[in-house]
Symmetry: C2
Subunit: 378 residues, 2 copies
Amino acid sequence: MSDVVIIGAAMAPFGRFPERPLTDLGVAAVRAAIKDAAVARSSITAAFVGTQSGGSMIGQRIMRQCGLPAIPVVNVENACSSGSTALHLAIAAVRSGVHETVLVAGLDKLSHASGTLPRHSDDYEGSLGLSPPALYAMRAQRYLHDYKADIRDVALVCVKNRRHALGNANALFRSEVTVDEVMASRRVADPLTLLHCCARSDGAASVVVTSAARARAIGAKAIRVLASDLCSGRYMPGFRDLTSPEITVRGARQAYEAAGVASKDIDFAEVHDAFSIAEVLYYEALGFCSRGEGIPLLKSGATTLGGSIPVNVSGGLMAKGHPPGATGVAQVVEAVEQLRGRAGSRQVEGAKVGLTHCTGGGVSGLDHGACTIHILAR
Amino acid sequence: MSDVVIIGAAMAPFGRFPERPLTDLGVAAVRAAIKDAAVARSSITAAFVGTQSGGSMIGQRIMRQCGLPAIPVVNVENACSSGSTALHLAIAAVRSGVHETVLVAGLDKLSHASGTLPRHSDDYEGSLGLSPPALYAMRAQRYLHDYKADIRDVALVCVKNRRHALGNANALFRSEVTVDEVMASRRVADPLTLLHCCARSDGAASVVVTSAARARAIGAKAIRVLASDLCSGRYMPGFRDLTSPEITVRGARQAYEAAGVASKDIDFAEVHDAFSIAEVLYYEALGFCSRGEGIPLLKSGATTLGGSIPVNVSGGLMAKGHPPGATGVAQVVEAVEQLRGRAGSRQVEGAKVGLTHCTGGGVSGLDHGACTIHILAR
């Protein structure tokens, strides 16, 4: 088994581009990642592309436009984990020696999507109205009840991540918001208002993965992959424990064990803040604090840039935007920039080890889901 | 690298089940494949699921219903090659030692699909009306012109495959047709009539892949995987050569080399007969005869059950039906049955080596495509 590294990373700005074909966003990100890696196209022998709604075989279409018309291309769909699952497959292919240098892309375009998503005919949760906002609203209600928390404190996730995004030219929202503004925004699902939810957007991100040996041979500045975990599980565990996302707890345990690190060793993290309450739940699930301690951790400033464990310094899904297929790869692009010390005004000082976390249920069917966790080191 | 084998194979009958959730078809196929393999569920550590229109994370939904709620699941989309690409990933995972025993499923439900398919906004072929039937009609016109062939002879593909399907209880169409009936059916795209085209249908298929060492340890009746090739290329090579599918020619060369066999060593084949003319083109592309010799080969009876190289004894896409995600896996289910000598009235006598071929362009964008070729042996 080979040590695996990332030698190229880039993303197209997240935003809303109704007139722009999604393939253009993908091509821009892939070309930039190949340029960043400074590898010959001929050394890339496979591509893994994650998308939820990109359409049939968009990966082949993009690779052809990027001068890679003949390599095997696999299009992957795992809902919000689509892009990070493509990365997981790429890492496994390199680690096992099936391929030496592979390309990963994640992309989606939701600016033109309707409010209602396609449902499986046997999706009973969806038929009950259990959309993601409804689920997270219930999780929030339960959390507020169990820990005597205040929804205004949960809103600090939005305030923090919007502020972080001021330093990210690739973010969708680059303006600050206050707790009052978050709470005064349109009600979506009590207690969540519009600004407690991430925004559908368009975007693409790409990385180049290779073996540590190959990176040394070409003198590339490599970021090491310490762990890449993908697991499945119940996304909404039958209402039995709404405030502990089981797949993230299990995935984190597996990822820390594979990487040989503990949660205290993580210098920064990009976590799946699709909703404000989600980030708080994930602090606890990832072991950044104990259960019920998420709000105190947030209020202490520990998860703000400059704190002990900065979370979503890129702005996260909340401020950077959330094109599902792109999100998991864009998180890794941010981690690579941080570990290279190239993150500019949002640089986490002395960052040595970073974690990215991407999870989701199906577009329909919240009773099952996937979780991907990557741990990277400089 | 481990030798890879298939120890379980099963499919749900192909047909039209508008009232039946697609997950039910997938669950039926997966449970039957696990039962056929006689392995403990606990030994299955990953699943690869191919679907074109199955919806988000249908693989996780199916695996949970089959008692595999926690393993990593990857949903793969590669148009008509979706299922065979899932198999390709599974074989690579076992060959490289990333997993020892994995599950593959392919499924789709098109009985309820509308006639128009979603298109990429930059799909210029689609905007020109170049749907698959239109493309194959042009290929047929060119073939008839170049080789002075008769469309009534091409219709013999439909007659042959419908007759083959009489012996297949899993086939959609189980009645014979005559050349006159094929030619008298509704015109679709000159010179192709309705019966020159395969039918959209619903279905699922599944196989269990493991290492040869593991198969020996559990005393399983194993079918060896000699080659698994996935490549990309131009599906419609800019009109430069409409009668030679370049990705199939290249994929076949790579697969034969990997397997250490020649086309003459293939005892039977399941090829992608989405249209009558396609099967003729693939005889030539796979090396079963020289270019321009496809019609004489067909008329000689060589590709009919009992001939020297029987093709699509299962009925093929033409008679068995074509749920895109399921097709590539169902071809392998047929090959496994043949190599086990369990194919009953459609058994190819003395079958030792079989080839399965699945290819397609995107649902939109015929200028790019994927081709998967698997070579199996008893």
